[in-house]
């Protein structure tokens, strides 16, 4: 229902992704690189929400495992997203356990937030980066289960049952967590500008500015 267009948009690429994965499983290096480029942004976004600035390192570890176990994988493009997200999640949890760092540690977040806007120059990119910072901040301020459900659905682009499988929870619980998380995000994002109905106000305003 509140799934929005994002997962569906991602799913539009899943046909290509599935084909690339199948070729990669047959040993096609270029196909593996293509699959990497399709999956990595979502994976990185998810990890950024989990481990902050260490997301790149964790993603690197995850990809080593993905490359190693690719022959074991069975499924299509959407399945590959779920499979890789599961691996990335395990690596992230390992990382957090090793570091004894809370997933929403303030220091890491601050660092991360400060780093992000750097490379952007144009007006549009600046807006983009502000929203990146906001989104990251807000998502990581959510309770863990809500944050993960939101990230897997919105950023990785998994459907409900896949999110549930990655998290090892029942689909109903995951759906509820995602719904609550998104609702809270929307409310908070609207906080500075508008009292409520945040997104409906926020969207057009941003649009008008950037045009």
């Amino acid at each position: 229902m509140g799934q929005g267009g994002e997962p569906r948009r991602v799913r539009a690429y899943d046909g290509d992704l599935g084909a690339a994965v199948a070729r990669a499983q047959d040993g096609d290096e270029a196909a593996f690189a293509a699959a990497y480029r399709m999956v990595q942004p979502g994976l990185l976004g998810y990890l950024r929400g989990l481990v902050g600035e260490d997301a790149e390192d964790v993603a690197s570890d995850a990809w080593l495992e993905i490359a190693r176990d690719l022959g074991r994988f069975k499924g299509d493009g959407a399945g590959f997203r779920g499979w890789t997200a599961t691996i990335a999640r395990h690596r992230a949890l390992d990382h957090l356990r090793r570091q004894r760092v809370r997933p929403r540690a303030a220091a890491t977040l601050e660092q991360d937030v400060l780093d992000l806007p750097g490379p952007h120059s144009t007006h549009e990119q600046a807006l983009e980066s502000i929203s990146t910072r906001q989104a990251l901040e807000l998502v990581r301020a959510l309770p863990r289960d809500q944050a993960e459900a939101v990230l897997l659905r919105v950023v990785v682009g998994l459907d409900g049952p896949s999110v549930a499988r990655v998290l090892g929870k029942r689909p109903g619980a995951v759906r509820t967590a995602a719904y609550r998380g998104l609702k809270r995000l929307a409310r908070q994002l609207g906080g500075p500008g508008a009292a409520d109905g945040a997104v409906t106000d926020d969207g057009p305003r941003t649009l008008g500015e950037s045009k």
Binding site: G2, G4, G5, E6, R8, A24, Q25, G27, E29, F32, A33, Y36, R37, Q40, G42, L44, R48, A59, S60, W63, I66, A67, R68, D69, L70, R72, F73, K74, D76, A78, G79, G82, W83, P119, H120, E128, S129, S131, T132, A135, V150, R153, V154, V155, P161, G168, K169, R170, P171, L182, K183, A186, L189, V199, T200, G203, P204, L207, S210, K211
Partner: protein, 264 residues
């Protein structure tokens, strides 16, 4: 629906895109455009793709794995994401439950199979004797563990199970100690012993009969003196040792039969 979709997806990705004017449909829901925007932001859609160095490392790992022949590894359950199994998350629960139920069933069958001859044998042994034999059902398993040896040993006096015979001798010795002490004899072990002997009065005789034959295999050197009449040094020593070991503190009545048997 489709019109709404196009309204959500595009403006969320590129808010400056002309297609974004279709955002008039945004009020459709608080989560829609926002959800897409959060996704785009966290994915870094605006920051120019993936890090080529990271990609190079991943591809190198892929090459290594491919060249080392690990591509044909076995698919584990967690690697199977085929869409044919949408309830994958629930499958393990169901599988676990099935396995559990199956093990219960098989265990019950095995238990019942074990129990059947035990009851028969018991009836053979102590059929019609006086002592009350109404043990709780839970005690059936331990009961026929020793009921089996009883049955074989009593008629043939063959020491096929020295370990169990040893147990029985220990029971005999202990029996003499607890006899006359209130309800101790109600315990399952004693009831079993009494039932095996064929009555409370017959226990002493029963125990005496059991003490000797099992003494033979424990003294192989004495083997030529077959039967209880042998009474060689080994055999009688053993019986005496048994009596002295177990009968300490028991009345003379307790030790008598065994001693008599040992001397015979």
């Amino acid at each position: 629906m489709g019109e709404r979709l196009s309204g959500e997806g595009l403006p969320a990705r590129r808010r400056g895109h002309p297609g974004g004017t279709a955002l008039g449909s945004a009020p459709a829901g608080p989560d829609t455009g926002f959800e897409a925007r959060v996704g785009a932001a966290l994915r870094g859609d605006g920051s120019g793709g993936v890090d080529p160095e990271a990609e190079r490392r991943a591809v190198a790992a892929f090459r290594t794995a491919r060249d080392s022949g690990q591509r044909r590894a076995r698919t584990r359950r967690r690697d199977d994401w085929r869409p044919g199994r949408p309830r994958g998350a629930r499958l393990p629960v169901r599988t676990t439950l099935s396995v559990f139920l199956a093990s219960l069933t098989l265990g019950g069958v095995a238990f019942a199979t074990m129990g059947a001859p035990g009851f028969d044998g018991h009836d053979d042994d102590g059929g019609g004797t006086g002592p009350p034999r109404t043990p709780p059902p839970a005690s059936t398993a331990p009961r026929q563990q020793s009921a089996g040896p009883d049955r074989t040993a009593a008629p043939s006096a063959g020491p096929h199970h020295p370990g169990t015979a040893e147990d029985m001798r220990a029971h005999c010795r202990a029996y003499e100690q607890v006899r006359g002490r209130g309800r101790a004899l109600d315990a399952t072990a004693w009831r079993r012993l009494v039932a095996a002997a064929g009555g409370e009065d017959a226990v002493a005789e029963y125990c005496a009969a059991r003490a000797t034959p099992s003494a033979q295999p424990s003294h192989p050197g004495n083997g030529t003196a077959g039967g209880t009449a042998g009474g060689g040094g080994g055999g009688s020593d053993h019986a005496t040792a048994d009596t002295s070991r177990g009968g300490g503190g028991s009345g003379p009545k307790a030790a008598d039969p065994e001693r008599a048997e040992g001397k015979k």
